[in-house]
Symmetry: C2
Subunit: 232 residues, 2 copies
Amino acid sequence: MESSDFIPNLAYDSVIFGFSGDQLKILLMEYHNTGLFALPGGFVKKTENLDDAVRRGLAERTGLTHIYLEQFHTFGNLSRHKPEVMKTILIANGHDPNGPMRWLLDRFISVAYYALIDYRYVIPRPDELSDSCTWYHVDQLPELILDHREIVNKALENLRENLDRKLVGMNLLPEKFTMQELQRVYEAISGTSFRRTSFQRKMLAMEVLIRHEKKYSGKAHKAPYLYSFTRK
Amino acid sequence: MESSDFIPNLAYDSVIFGFSGDQLKILLMEYHNTGLFALPGGFVKKTENLDDAVRRGLAERTGLTHIYLEQFHTFGNLSRHKPEVMKTILIANGHDPNGPMRWLLDRFISVAYYALIDYRYVIPRPDELSDSCTWYHVDQLPELILDHREIVNKALENLRENLDRKLVGMNLLPEKFTMQELQRVYEAISGTSFRRTSFQRKMLAMEVLIRHEKKYSGKAHKAPYLYSFTRK
Protein backbone atom coordinates (compact mmCIF):
# COMPACT_ATOMS: atom_id res chain seq x y z
CA MET A 1 0.00 0.00 0.00
CA GLU A 2 1.68 3.18 -1.24
CA SER A 3 0.36 6.23 0.57
CA SER A 4 0.69 8.34 -2.57
CA ASP A 5 -1.98 6.29 -4.40
CA PHE A 6 -4.67 7.16 -1.85
CA ILE A 7 -6.60 10.22 -0.72
CA PRO A 8 -4.96 11.17 2.60
CA ASN A 9 -6.91 11.13 5.87
CA LEU A 10 -9.89 9.36 4.30
CA ALA A 11 -10.91 5.75 4.96
CA TYR A 12 -13.99 3.62 4.70
CA ASP A 13 -15.30 0.94 7.03
CA SER A 14 -17.80 -1.72 6.12
CA VAL A 15 -20.28 -3.53 8.32
CA ILE A 16 -20.90 -6.71 6.33
CA PHE A 17 -24.09 -8.34 7.58
CA GLY A 18 -24.40 -12.00 6.74
CA PHE A 19 -27.52 -14.12 7.04
CA SER A 20 -28.25 -17.68 6.25
CA GLY A 21 -31.74 -18.72 7.21
CA ASP A 22 -31.78 -17.71 10.86
CA GLN A 23 -28.85 -15.77 12.35
CA LEU A 24 -27.52 -12.29 11.62
CA LYS A 25 -23.72 -12.13 11.67
CA ILE A 26 -21.00 -9.56 11.03
CA LEU A 27 -17.64 -10.10 9.36
CA LEU A 28 -14.67 -9.06 11.53
CA MET A 29 -10.91 -9.09 10.98
CA GLU A 30 -8.37 -10.02 13.64
CA TYR A 31 -4.95 -8.40 13.31
CA HIS A 32 -1.88 -10.67 13.49
CA ASN A 33 -0.55 -11.29 17.01
CA THR A 34 -2.55 -8.56 18.69
CA GLY A 35 -5.97 -9.90 19.69
CA LEU A 36 -7.37 -6.72 18.14
CA PHE A 37 -10.59 -6.96 16.13
CA ALA A 38 -11.81 -4.49 13.54
CA LEU A 39 -14.33 -3.97 10.77
CA PRO A 40 -12.99 -4.60 7.27
CA GLY A 41 -12.03 -1.25 5.79
CA GLY A 42 -9.69 0.44 3.41
CA PHE A 43 -8.73 3.55 1.53
CA VAL A 44 -9.87 5.42 -1.55
CA LYS A 45 -7.56 5.75 -4.53
CA LYS A 46 -7.07 9.24 -5.91
CA THR A 47 -8.40 7.95 -9.23
CA GLU A 48 -11.50 6.05 -8.09
CA ASN A 49 -15.04 6.83 -6.96
CA LEU A 50 -15.71 6.45 -3.25
CA ASP A 51 -18.38 3.77 -3.83
CA ASP A 52 -16.06 1.85 -6.15
CA ALA A 53 -13.34 1.77 -3.50
CA VAL A 54 -15.77 0.15 -1.09
CA ARG A 55 -16.95 -2.38 -3.70
CA ARG A 56 -13.32 -3.21 -4.47
CA GLY A 57 -12.64 -3.83 -0.78
CA LEU A 58 -15.74 -5.96 -0.35
CA ALA A 59 -14.86 -8.05 -3.37
CA GLU A 60 -11.37 -8.62 -1.92
CA ARG A 61 -12.76 -9.73 1.47
CA THR A 62 -15.78 -11.77 0.30
CA GLY A 63 -15.21 -12.64 -3.36
CA LEU A 64 -18.66 -11.17 -4.12
CA THR A 65 -19.10 -8.40 -6.66
CA HIS A 66 -22.87 -7.73 -6.70
CA ILE A 67 -23.62 -6.81 -3.14
CA TYR A 68 -26.38 -4.69 -1.65
CA LEU A 69 -24.44 -1.76 -0.23
CA GLU A 70 -25.67 1.30 1.62
CA GLN A 71 -23.66 4.25 2.85
CA PHE A 72 -25.03 5.29 6.24
CA HIS A 73 -22.72 7.71 8.07
CA THR A 74 -19.34 9.41 8.03
CA PHE A 75 -17.39 9.35 11.28
CA GLY A 76 -15.13 12.35 11.78
CA ASN A 77 -14.48 12.92 15.47
CA LEU A 78 -10.93 13.66 16.60
CA SER A 79 -11.41 11.06 19.36
CA ARG A 80 -11.34 8.25 16.76
CA HIS A 81 -7.69 9.04 16.04
CA LYS A 82 -5.62 6.66 18.18
CA PRO A 83 -2.21 6.35 16.52
CA GLU A 84 -0.91 4.04 19.28
CA VAL A 85 -3.41 1.33 18.24
CA MET A 86 -2.23 1.35 14.62
CA LYS A 87 1.39 1.46 15.87
CA THR A 88 0.79 -1.74 17.86
CA ILE A 89 -0.70 -3.40 14.78
CA LEU A 90 2.20 -2.34 12.53
CA ILE A 91 4.85 -3.52 15.02
CA ALA A 92 3.07 -6.87 15.54
CA ASN A 93 3.19 -7.33 11.77
CA GLY A 94 6.91 -6.59 11.56
CA HIS A 95 6.51 -3.11 10.04
CA ASP A 96 8.52 -0.08 11.16
CA PRO A 97 5.95 2.48 12.42
CA ASN A 98 8.30 5.20 11.14
CA GLY A 99 8.70 3.48 7.78
CA PRO A 100 6.65 3.63 4.59
CA MET A 101 3.42 2.61 6.36
CA ARG A 102 3.69 5.51 8.78
CA TRP A 103 0.76 7.26 7.04
CA LEU A 104 -1.56 4.68 8.65
CA LEU A 105 -0.95 6.53 11.95
CA ASP A 106 -2.60 9.70 10.57
CA ARG A 107 -6.07 10.93 11.47
CA PHE A 108 -8.75 9.33 9.27
CA ILE A 109 -12.31 10.42 8.61
CA SER A 110 -14.21 7.24 7.79
CA VAL A 111 -17.20 6.82 5.52
CA ALA A 112 -19.19 3.82 6.75
CA TYR A 113 -21.23 1.43 4.63
CA TYR A 114 -23.22 -1.66 5.38
CA ALA A 115 -23.64 -4.62 3.11
CA LEU A 116 -26.13 -7.48 3.23
CA ILE A 117 -25.15 -10.91 1.99
CA ASP A 118 -26.03 -14.57 2.27
CA TYR A 119 -22.93 -15.89 3.99
CA ARG A 120 -23.15 -19.36 2.49
CA TYR A 121 -21.71 -17.94 -0.72
CA VAL A 122 -18.71 -16.30 0.93
CA ILE A 123 -15.21 -17.48 1.72
CA PRO A 124 -13.83 -14.61 3.82
CA ARG A 125 -10.25 -13.63 2.99
CA PRO A 126 -8.05 -11.72 5.47
CA ASP A 127 -5.88 -8.80 4.28
CA GLU A 128 -2.11 -8.48 4.68
CA LEU A 129 -2.29 -7.22 8.28
CA SER A 130 -4.83 -9.70 9.60
CA ASP A 131 -4.83 -13.42 10.08
CA SER A 132 -8.52 -14.06 10.31
CA CYS A 133 -11.68 -12.74 8.78
CA THR A 134 -14.60 -14.49 10.44
CA TRP A 135 -18.34 -14.24 11.02
CA TYR A 136 -19.52 -13.24 14.48
CA HIS A 137 -23.08 -13.36 15.73
CA VAL A 138 -24.34 -9.79 16.08
CA ASP A 139 -25.03 -10.36 19.81
CA GLN A 140 -21.62 -11.91 20.47
CA LEU A 141 -19.08 -9.51 19.03
CA PRO A 142 -15.63 -9.24 20.60
CA GLU A 143 -14.35 -5.81 21.67
CA LEU A 144 -13.52 -3.71 18.60
CA ILE A 145 -10.82 -1.08 18.05
CA LEU A 146 -11.38 2.68 17.82
CA ASP A 147 -15.06 3.61 17.33
CA HIS A 148 -15.91 0.43 15.41
CA ARG A 149 -18.50 -0.65 17.99
CA GLU A 150 -20.28 2.70 17.51
CA ILE A 151 -20.14 2.14 13.74
CA VAL A 152 -21.76 -1.29 14.17
CA ASN A 153 -24.49 0.15 16.40
CA LYS A 154 -25.30 2.88 13.92
CA ALA A 155 -25.34 0.35 11.06
CA LEU A 156 -27.80 -1.85 12.96
CA GLU A 157 -29.99 1.17 13.71
CA ASN A 158 -30.06 2.08 10.01
CA LEU A 159 -30.63 -1.48 8.88
CA ARG A 160 -33.60 -1.80 11.24
CA GLU A 161 -35.08 1.50 10.09
CA ASN A 162 -34.71 0.37 6.48
CA LEU A 163 -36.42 -2.99 7.00
CA ASP A 164 -39.86 -1.58 6.17
CA ARG A 165 -38.85 1.62 4.45
CA LYS A 166 -36.51 0.18 1.84
CA LEU A 167 -37.38 -3.52 2.27
CA VAL A 168 -33.69 -4.32 2.68
CA GLY A 169 -34.63 -7.84 3.73
CA MET A 170 -35.23 -8.75 0.09
CA ASN A 171 -31.46 -8.86 -0.36
CA LEU A 172 -31.26 -11.81 2.00
CA LEU A 173 -33.97 -13.90 0.36
CA PRO A 174 -34.26 -15.91 -2.84
CA GLU A 175 -36.52 -14.55 -5.60
CA LYS A 176 -39.46 -16.53 -4.17
CA PHE A 177 -39.75 -17.26 -0.47
CA THR A 178 -42.23 -18.42 2.14
CA MET A 179 -43.76 -16.16 4.79
CA GLN A 180 -41.75 -18.09 7.37
CA GLU A 181 -38.48 -17.35 5.59
CA LEU A 182 -39.40 -13.67 5.44
CA GLN A 183 -40.27 -13.67 9.13
CA ARG A 184 -36.86 -15.17 10.00
CA VAL A 185 -35.10 -12.32 8.17
CA TYR A 186 -37.18 -9.74 10.03
CA GLU A 187 -36.57 -11.43 13.35
CA ALA A 188 -32.82 -11.76 12.84
CA ILE A 189 -32.45 -8.10 11.84
CA SER A 190 -34.80 -6.62 14.41
CA GLY A 191 -33.54 -8.87 17.20
CA THR A 192 -37.09 -9.66 18.34
CA SER A 193 -39.60 -12.39 17.58
CA PHE A 194 -43.06 -11.86 16.12
CA ARG A 195 -46.31 -13.84 16.31
CA ARG A 196 -46.81 -15.66 13.04
CA THR A 197 -50.32 -14.34 12.43
CA SER A 198 -49.62 -10.69 13.23
CA PHE A 199 -46.39 -10.73 11.19
CA GLN A 200 -48.26 -12.13 8.19
CA ARG A 201 -51.05 -9.55 8.56
CA LYS A 202 -48.54 -6.68 8.76
CA MET A 203 -46.58 -7.82 5.71
CA LEU A 204 -49.69 -8.34 3.59
CA ALA A 205 -51.03 -4.92 4.62
CA MET A 206 -47.84 -3.30 3.28
CA GLU A 207 -48.92 -4.38 -0.22
CA VAL A 208 -45.39 -5.16 -1.35
CA LEU A 209 -45.79 -8.93 -1.81
CA ILE A 210 -47.06 -11.00 -4.71
CA ARG A 211 -48.48 -14.43 -3.79
CA HIS A 212 -47.50 -17.34 -6.06
CA GLU A 213 -48.38 -21.03 -6.20
CA LYS A 214 -47.88 -23.21 -3.13
CA LYS A 215 -44.48 -24.71 -2.49
CA TYR A 216 -44.78 -28.47 -3.05
CA SER A 217 -43.53 -30.38 -0.06
CA GLY A 218 -45.17 -33.83 -0.30
CA LYS A 219 -47.74 -32.95 2.37
CA ALA A 220 -50.14 -30.94 0.24
CA HIS A 221 -52.33 -29.65 3.08
CA LYS A 222 -49.33 -28.06 4.78
CA ALA A 223 -47.65 -26.60 1.73
CA PRO A 224 -46.91 -22.88 2.30
CA TYR A 225 -47.50 -20.20 -0.30
CA LEU A 226 -44.53 -18.65 -2.03
CA TYR A 227 -44.17 -14.87 -2.27
CA SER A 228 -42.00 -12.38 -4.09
CA PHE A 229 -41.59 -8.63 -3.75
CA THR A 230 -43.48 -6.36 -6.14
CA ARG A 231 -40.48 -4.08 -6.56
CA LYS A 232 -36.74 -4.56 -6.67
CA MET B 1 -7.57 30.15 4.22
CA GLU B 2 -4.24 28.34 4.59
CA SER B 3 -4.36 24.90 3.00
CA SER B 4 -2.08 23.50 5.72
CA ASP B 5 -4.73 24.09 8.43
CA PHE B 6 -7.24 21.81 6.75
CA ILE B 7 -7.65 18.12 6.00
CA PRO B 8 -6.84 17.82 2.29
CA ASN B 9 -9.45 16.61 -0.22
CA LEU B 10 -12.27 16.81 2.31
CA ALA B 11 -15.09 19.36 2.29
CA TYR B 12 -18.58 19.70 3.64
CA ASP B 13 -21.68 21.17 2.05
CA SER B 14 -24.76 22.30 3.89
CA VAL B 15 -28.34 22.46 2.70
CA ILE B 16 -29.81 25.06 5.05
CA PHE B 17 -33.60 24.79 4.96
CA GLY B 18 -35.42 27.87 6.15
CA PHE B 19 -39.09 28.13 6.97
CA SER B 20 -41.21 30.95 8.23
CA GLY B 21 -44.86 30.03 8.47
CA ASP B 22 -45.48 28.80 4.94
CA GLN B 23 -42.61 28.44 2.46
CA LEU B 24 -39.58 26.17 2.48
CA LYS B 25 -36.42 27.89 1.26
CA ILE B 26 -32.74 27.08 0.84
CA LEU B 27 -29.77 29.36 1.46
CA LEU B 28 -27.51 29.75 -1.60
CA MET B 29 -24.30 31.68 -2.24
CA GLU B 30 -23.49 33.51 -5.43
CA TYR B 31 -19.81 33.84 -6.28
CA HIS B 32 -18.49 37.30 -7.19
CA ASN B 33 -18.79 38.23 -10.88
CA THR B 34 -19.57 34.71 -12.10
CA GLY B 35 -23.32 34.11 -11.89
CA LEU B 36 -22.42 30.78 -10.26
CA PHE B 37 -24.54 29.56 -7.37
CA ALA B 38 -23.51 27.03 -4.75
CA LEU B 39 -24.48 25.58 -1.40
CA PRO B 40 -22.63 27.07 1.57
CA GLY B 41 -19.74 24.77 2.43
CA GLY B 42 -16.29 24.67 3.86
CA PHE B 43 -13.37 22.63 5.07
CA VAL B 44 -12.45 20.69 8.19
CA LYS B 45 -9.48 21.82 10.29
CA LYS B 46 -6.94 19.16 11.17
CA THR B 47 -7.67 19.89 14.84
CA GLU B 48 -11.47 19.89 14.85
CA ASN B 49 -14.30 17.38 14.77
CA LEU B 50 -16.16 17.06 11.48
CA ASP B 51 -19.49 18.10 13.07
CA ASP B 52 -17.86 21.11 14.73
CA ALA B 53 -16.47 22.29 11.40
CA VAL B 54 -19.99 22.29 9.98
CA ARG B 55 -21.43 24.11 13.01
CA ARG B 56 -18.65 26.70 12.73
CA GLY B 57 -19.52 27.26 9.06
CA LEU B 58 -23.25 27.53 9.76
CA ALA B 59 -22.65 30.03 12.55
CA GLU B 60 -20.53 32.13 10.15
CA ARG B 61 -23.24 32.11 7.45
CA THR B 62 -26.34 32.47 9.63
CA GLY B 63 -25.22 33.82 13.00
CA LEU B 64 -27.05 30.90 14.65
CA THR B 65 -25.28 28.49 16.98
CA HIS B 66 -27.99 26.06 18.10
CA ILE B 67 -29.23 24.58 14.86
CA TYR B 68 -30.86 21.25 14.12
CA LEU B 69 -28.26 19.56 11.95
CA GLU B 70 -28.30 16.16 10.31
CA GLN B 71 -25.55 14.51 8.28
CA PHE B 72 -27.18 12.65 5.41
CA HIS B 73 -24.67 11.55 2.75
CA THR B 74 -21.07 11.75 1.62
CA PHE B 75 -20.49 12.50 -2.05
CA GLY B 76 -17.31 10.99 -3.46
CA ASN B 77 -17.61 10.53 -7.21
CA LEU B 78 -14.71 11.57 -9.41
CA SER B 79 -17.23 13.34 -11.67
CA ARG B 80 -17.79 16.00 -9.00
CA HIS B 81 -14.21 17.19 -9.48
CA LYS B 82 -14.35 20.10 -11.93
CA PRO B 83 -11.23 22.21 -11.37
CA GLU B 84 -12.17 24.61 -14.20
CA VAL B 85 -15.21 25.78 -12.21
CA MET B 86 -13.15 26.67 -9.16
CA LYS B 87 -10.53 28.26 -11.44
CA THR B 88 -13.23 30.57 -12.88
CA ILE B 89 -14.31 31.53 -9.37
CA LEU B 90 -10.76 32.24 -8.21
CA ILE B 91 -9.94 34.37 -11.27
CA ALA B 92 -13.22 36.32 -10.93
CA ASN B 93 -12.19 37.10 -7.37
CA GLY B 94 -8.73 38.33 -8.34
CA HIS B 95 -6.86 35.25 -7.08
CA ASP B 96 -4.07 33.53 -9.00
CA PRO B 97 -5.27 29.95 -9.63
CA ASN B 98 -1.63 28.85 -9.35
CA GLY B 99 -1.13 30.80 -6.13
CA PRO B 100 -1.75 29.95 -2.48
CA MET B 101 -5.42 29.06 -3.11
CA ARG B 102 -4.50 26.49 -5.73
CA TRP B 103 -5.47 23.68 -3.34
CA LEU B 104 -9.12 24.62 -3.95
CA LEU B 105 -8.72 23.05 -7.42
CA ASP B 106 -8.07 19.61 -5.88
CA ARG B 107 -10.55 16.76 -5.79
CA PHE B 108 -12.86 16.99 -2.75
CA ILE B 109 -15.02 14.34 -1.14
CA SER B 110 -17.89 16.21 0.47
CA VAL B 111 -19.85 15.27 3.57
CA ALA B 112 -23.32 16.76 3.26
CA TYR B 113 -25.53 18.00 6.09
CA TYR B 114 -28.90 19.61 6.24
CA ALA B 115 -30.03 22.18 8.77
CA LEU B 116 -33.50 23.41 9.64
CA ILE B 117 -34.04 26.95 10.80
CA ASP B 118 -36.67 29.65 11.10
CA TYR B 119 -35.32 32.17 8.64
CA ARG B 120 -36.79 35.19 10.39
CA TYR B 121 -33.92 34.96 12.89
CA VAL B 122 -31.17 34.88 10.29
CA ILE B 123 -29.17 37.58 8.56
CA PRO B 124 -27.25 35.60 5.91
CA ARG B 125 -23.60 36.58 5.52
CA PRO B 126 -21.62 35.82 2.34
CA ASP B 127 -18.06 34.49 2.59
CA GLU B 128 -14.95 36.03 1.05
CA LEU B 129 -15.55 34.57 -2.43
CA SER B 130 -19.25 35.33 -2.71
CA ASP B 131 -21.25 38.52 -2.86
CA SER B 132 -24.62 37.22 -1.92
CA CYS B 133 -26.07 34.63 0.41
CA THR B 134 -29.82 34.57 -0.14
CA TRP B 135 -32.91 32.43 0.42
CA TYR B 136 -34.43 30.71 -2.60
CA HIS B 137 -37.75 28.93 -2.68
CA VAL B 138 -37.11 25.20 -2.92
CA ASP B 139 -39.08 25.01 -6.21
CA GLN B 140 -37.28 27.99 -7.76
CA LEU B 141 -33.59 27.31 -7.34
CA PRO B 142 -31.11 28.65 -9.90
CA GLU B 143 -28.70 26.23 -11.58
CA LEU B 144 -26.06 25.09 -9.09
CA ILE B 145 -22.38 24.22 -9.59
CA LEU B 146 -20.90 20.70 -9.50
CA ASP B 147 -23.28 18.10 -8.00
CA HIS B 148 -24.99 20.59 -5.68
CA ARG B 149 -28.41 20.02 -7.25
CA GLU B 150 -28.04 16.29 -6.53
CA ILE B 151 -27.06 17.16 -2.94
CA VAL B 152 -30.22 19.30 -2.58
CA ASN B 153 -32.40 16.50 -3.98
CA LYS B 154 -30.95 13.94 -1.59
CA ALA B 155 -31.37 16.37 1.33
CA LEU B 156 -35.03 16.87 0.46
CA GLU B 157 -35.54 13.12 0.17
CA ASN B 158 -34.02 12.61 3.62
CA LEU B 159 -35.91 15.51 5.16
CA ARG B 160 -39.20 14.11 3.86
CA GLU B 161 -38.43 10.62 5.14
CA ASN B 162 -37.60 12.10 8.54
CA LEU B 163 -40.82 14.11 8.84
CA ASP B 164 -42.68 11.27 10.57
CA ARG B 165 -39.75 9.16 11.62
CA LYS B 166 -37.77 11.79 13.51
CA LEU B 167 -40.43 14.52 13.67
CA VAL B 168 -37.93 17.00 12.22
CA GLY B 169 -40.78 19.48 11.79
CA MET B 170 -40.60 20.30 15.49
CA ASN B 171 -37.44 22.29 14.78
CA LEU B 172 -39.46 24.75 12.71
CA LEU B 173 -42.20 25.38 15.25
CA PRO B 174 -42.45 27.25 18.54
CA GLU B 175 -42.79 25.20 21.73
CA LYS B 176 -46.60 25.34 21.42
CA PHE B 177 -48.32 25.51 18.06
CA THR B 178 -51.71 25.08 16.43
CA MET B 179 -52.64 22.13 14.22
CA GLN B 180 -52.74 24.57 11.30
CA GLU B 181 -49.16 25.69 11.93
CA LEU B 182 -48.07 22.06 12.08
CA GLN B 183 -49.89 21.31 8.84
CA ARG B 184 -48.10 24.20 7.10
CA VAL B 185 -44.72 22.75 8.07
CA TYR B 186 -45.70 19.32 6.73
CA GLU B 187 -47.05 20.81 3.53
CA ALA B 188 -43.99 22.99 2.90
CA ILE B 189 -41.59 20.08 3.46
CA SER B 190 -43.55 17.43 1.61
CA GLY B 191 -44.48 19.74 -1.24
CA THR B 192 -48.10 18.58 -1.18
CA SER B 193 -51.26 19.77 0.52
CA PHE B 194 -53.40 17.74 2.90
CA ARG B 195 -57.06 17.86 3.89
CA ARG B 196 -57.39 19.48 7.29
CA THR B 197 -59.40 16.65 8.83
CA SER B 198 -57.27 13.75 7.58
CA PHE B 199 -54.05 15.56 8.53
CA GLN B 200 -55.35 16.11 12.06
CA ARG B 201 -56.48 12.48 12.35
CA LYS B 202 -53.08 11.21 11.17
CA MET B 203 -51.10 13.43 13.55
CA LEU B 204 -53.25 12.54 16.56
CA ALA B 205 -52.96 8.83 15.72
CA MET B 206 -49.16 9.10 15.90
CA GLU B 207 -49.52 9.81 19.63
CA VAL B 208 -46.68 12.32 19.69
CA LEU B 209 -48.72 15.43 20.54
CA ILE B 210 -49.91 16.86 23.84
CA ARG B 211 -53.01 19.05 23.67
CA HIS B 212 -52.97 22.24 25.74
CA GLU B 213 -55.47 25.03 26.43
CA LYS B 214 -57.05 26.89 23.54
CA LYS B 215 -55.24 29.82 22.02
CA TYR B 216 -57.15 32.97 22.94
CA SER B 217 -58.00 34.98 19.87
CA GLY B 218 -60.91 37.19 20.88
CA LYS B 219 -63.42 34.94 19.12
CA ALA B 220 -63.73 32.17 21.67
CA HIS B 221 -65.73 29.77 19.54
CA LYS B 222 -63.03 29.72 16.88
CA ALA B 223 -59.99 29.54 19.13
CA PRO B 224 -57.76 26.62 18.06
CA TYR B 225 -56.13 24.22 20.50
CA LEU B 226 -52.40 24.49 21.11
CA TYR B 227 -50.19 21.40 20.94
CA SER B 228 -46.64 20.48 21.82
CA PHE B 229 -44.56 17.40 21.07
CA THR B 230 -44.26 14.71 23.73
CA ARG B 231 -40.55 14.24 23.03
CA LYS B 232 -37.69 16.50 22.05
